[in-house]
Symmetry: C2
Subunit: 320 residues, 2 copies
Amino acid sequence: MELKQYLEQTANQVDALIYRYFGSACDDLGRASAHLLLAGGKRLRPALLLLAADAVNRGSSSDVMPAALALELTHSFTLIHDDIMDGDTVRRGVPTVHTRWDEPTAILAGDVLFATAFEFICLADVPDNAKVRATSLLARTCVEICEGQHLDMSFEKRDDVSEGEYFKMVEKKTGALYAAAAGIGSILASGNPSFTEALYHFGQGIGMAFQIQDDLIDLLAPPEVSGKDQGSDIREGKKTLVYLKAREKGLDLAQYRGDISPDQIRGIVAKLEELGVIAEVRQTAEDLVRTGIQRISILPDSEEKDLLVQMGEHFIRRSY
Amino acid sequence: MELKQYLEQTANQVDALIYRYFGSACDDLGRASAHLLLAGGKRLRPALLLLAADAVNRGSSSDVMPAALALELTHSFTLIHDDIMDGDTVRRGVPTVHTRWDEPTAILAGDVLFATAFEFICLADVPDNAKVRATSLLARTCVEICEGQHLDMSFEKRDDVSEGEYFKMVEKKTGALYAAAAGIGSILASGNPSFTEALYHFGQGIGMAFQIQDDLIDLLAPPEVSGKDQGSDIREGKKTLVYLKAREKGLDLAQYRGDISPDQIRGIVAKLEELGVIAEVRQTAEDLVRTGIQRISILPDSEEKDLLVQMGEHFIRRSY
């Protein structure tokens, strides 16, 4: 199977579950909790969990789909709370929860999804010891995501962020949930500990690469392709890897903070290309994915293993 | 053993664990998460969990203390988020987290404690099936607490809140976590299902009574006894049971909303006494506790069962 087809298929399954459980909320808080979930999404974390489970235990009929949904709920919870903190008003083409409702309702809606994620982990059709380990890992992961978001916010006020700190932030804020998705998939499918560890690190690496690619897309993709505002990270002075590597080469992107034109953005991109910044950042993402793929080479060969490799490659090739 | 002595002893044990795990946070988010936990508290939910566990399985040596701590973490998480929503600036004699730090940090600090609670449930020294059931119950409880807080906030804008709606709100906002404490204690100690159900309802009833008693203390206790501002619920126009029962008898407390003097508060209290409102509210709390005690009469007689009964009675006799 092609990755594209696999992702479409699992996204449809996840969407169906989301509609079943969250599509008919009849109270205000229930609707606020479901709002972002129902606005769509690529459902990449559930797909990673399912692929990891099948890669370590092919042909198992146990239903881990509720746990896959738990990962999407966790992701949605973090988005709702992050949007409040970052003051973002639009996400997935719809108003953010605190914009459509209000801040208190958005805090509670996030909390509800967070709690519901743990309920869904416990609904997977697997042995109890696997559920306990998955619960612990998801809980630890949520702590890391919060630490990552806190670090990211603290970067805004600082000019001396190091690459080491940047990687720590991305590892926690984005890498941790992909790591948990792959690791929990393996745990629930009774994967042996070395498979679980390999998948965990694979997920972490491709998750970090995903975020770095996101930053490249923000910089390079014309709005008509990405659907987003080109160069918004530069306008906001975000401490991305591009920012840090440019600074290393003597180009301070902070000077372009504020309202700059699309033409200026194209000029900055040309300068970054010339300095080799773009190539270095691409290489970093590529290395993370390569190392991740190397880690899962110990898995038995299977269609799912191939799809995992394709997924890693897709994370750094995608242009939107 | 006297209840007072038991509560002091367990509070010391819980405090010791809190200091061990949260006393030496070396980063900002860690300190914000620990802030309210370290400011003290009566640790009533952990005590209820421990008593319930011992009441269904005396002499068991399995360590459920991490789960008792999980209940306190959950309570602390809800307080941090509620304080943001309610705009409260002081709690337990210290500035609230969003006041001492900022709102984003307070949202994250609550999320961190929430996640950590699930980690601690999984650290209890009990069979995995018990941990899974406890995790599910705690997760469901957190959803209910959010629903209760949302209902409570929605009451502010409404004049037609019914007693039925009030009870639903108190059941979710305060009753649910006491219910979970007692129920989880029983689950972790392998209590039979009828014991678990009885303890769950006992916890729910005394938890609701606790909240009703809180409202009476707000109204009746002079500040030098309670350490709180007498009559603050009336000043804020809160839809308490006192408010609803007074309205039923033709006295609209909403008219006193705003800045009223201590003398006026004493006058209102006299009027409420005369109308029989205070007596009716007291009776409601008393009935909730009596019904709860009735539910746990099926437990085998033990010192812990006696302490549970004392705890229920304490909840409606306390004056601070």
